[in-house]
C-alpha cells in the first residue's frame, strides 16, 4: 500500500493550507518508472497533471506504454500530442533536473517528502505527517 491515500487525505483535511509539489525521481532499473514520469509531465503540458498523477498512483505498477495511452484517453488528453511527447521523451530534461536535485539531496529511495524543508522518508502514517504539518501551521502563525 503506497502513501497516496495518506497524501490525498492530508490535502483534503488541510485544504487551502497546504500545497503539494511533485518532483520526479524514477529509479533507472525499473521498466516503467521513466515513461510514467514522461506521461505525467505530458499530461501537465495539457493542463491535466493532477488527473494523471492520481490515475498513475491508482494503476501502478501497470504503467507500460499502451496502458499509459489508455489512461491518457480516460482523462481526455489529445492523444497524438500525448504519444508524441512520450515517444520523443519531451520532458526528459525536466526529469533529469529533478533527479539531479534528488541526488544532491542524497535521496536514494522514494517517496521522500520535504514539508517546509523538513524531510520525511517513506510511507509514514497519516498521524506522522499531521504532527509536522500542525507544527508548521502553528509556527507560521507566530
Amino acid at each position: 500500500m503506497g502513501v497516496g491515500p495518506t497524501v490525498d487525505k492530508l490535502l483534503k483535511d488541510y485544504k487551502g493550507k497546504i500545497r503539494l509539489v511533485v518532483k520526479m525521481n524514477p529509479y533507472k532499473y525499473r521498466d516503467f518508472s521513466h515513461i510514467a514520469a514522461e506521461a505525467v509531465l505530458a499530461a501537465r503540458d495539457q493542463g491535466k497533471f493532477w488527473e494523471m498523477h492520481q490515475l498513475l498512483l491508482k494503476k501502478s505498477p501497470k504503467l507500460d506504454r499502451n496502458s499509459l495511452i489508455k489512461y491518457a484517453q480516460e482523462i481526455g488528453l489529445d492523444l497524438n500530442r500525448f504519444i508524441e511527447s512520450l515517444d520523443t521523451k519531451k520532458n526528459t530534461n525536466t526529469i533529469e533536473r529533478d533527479k539531479q536535485l534528488a541526488t544532491s539531496l542524497d535521496l536514494y529511495e522514494t517517496p521522500v517528502f520535504f514539508i517546509n524543508g523538513r524531510k520525511v522518508t517513506g510511507n509514514r502514517a497519516y498521524e506522522y505527517f499531521k504532527k509536522i504539518i500542525d507544527e508548521e501551521i502553528k509556527n507560521e502563525k507566530r
Binding site: 497546504i18 500545497r19 509539489v21 520526479m24 536535485l101 517517496p111 523538513r118
Partner: protein, 49 residues
Amino acid sequence: MKLLVLIIFLLTVSVSSAQEKRFEVPVGDSPGYGRANAEVTMIEFIDYQ
C-alpha cells in the same frame, strides 16, 4: 512545581523543533496541487512504479 516542569518541557520542545534541520528544496516550475501561497509546502519526490 508542576507548572515549572510544564514550562521547562514546553521550552525544550519548542527549542528542539526549531533546531530541526530544514533543507532548501526549490519548487521551480514543478507541477502540484493547491494554492501557491499556502502556509505549508510539501514537496514529494516520486517514482510512480
